[in-house]
Amino acid sequence: MASYKVLVEGSSLGAPGSVVTEADIIAAPADVELLVASGIVEPTTTTKKDKE
């Protein structure tokens, strides 16, 4: 599931730097796209581990 980092102070999602899931945002309740557009959260980048 996608995860997002909280960017602003005063969000009910958590302190700046907190990482939340899409489910957390929906449960807040809030709209993921809207929060990204308003700079409240940003998607966290994930790196896939290469198969050995």
């Binding site: 960017l7 005063g10 009910s12 945002i25 709209d31 929060l35 308003s38 700079g39």
Partner: protein, 132 residues
């Protein structure tokens, strides 16, 4: 609880607590008036229909990331806004009004005359409220 003076209402828009910027809040809970009058009635008879909500906010503007300007700018044109309004920031009783899918048609994000405090007044409409 006795009557009280509104000094510490809590307003959250899209998870961001903007209470410290709010100078005026008006939450209007309304349902459409649907007529059910039928033959034999001696006067109009109505029932409540769809919720018809309106949340009007006046706020001091703040250009900081994720605060008033950013939050309202992104909220315009969206019907997915979430608002949480409480008469008090804490304490009991303190009904929490959570509005989902509110629409914001416009926001005067820059407004005022020279020398004025930068303020913004918006009205969210529609959506559905749940009281808890």
């Amino acid at each position: 609880m006795a009557v009280f003076v509104l000094t510490d209402a809590s307003v959250t828009v899209n998870t961001v607590d903007l209470s410290s910027y709010v100078t005026n809040v008006t939450f209007t809970y309304e349902k459409d008036q649907v007529e059910t009058t039928a033959m034999g009635a001696t006067g109009h008879v109505y029932t409540g229909g769809l919720q018809n909500l309106s949340v009007a906010l006046e706020m001091n503007n703040d250009l900081a990331a994720g605060k008033v300007f950013d939050t309202l700018y992104a909220a315009v044109g969206s019907g997915a806004n979430t608002l949480v309004v409480k008469p008090l920031s804490s304490g009991s009783p303190n009904p929490t009004l959570t509005v989902s899918n509110a629409f914001l048609p416009s926001a005067p994000v820059v407004a005022g005359a020279v020398g004025d405090l930068a303020k913004v007044s918006v009205t969210f409409t529609g959506g559905t409220v749940v009281k808890s």
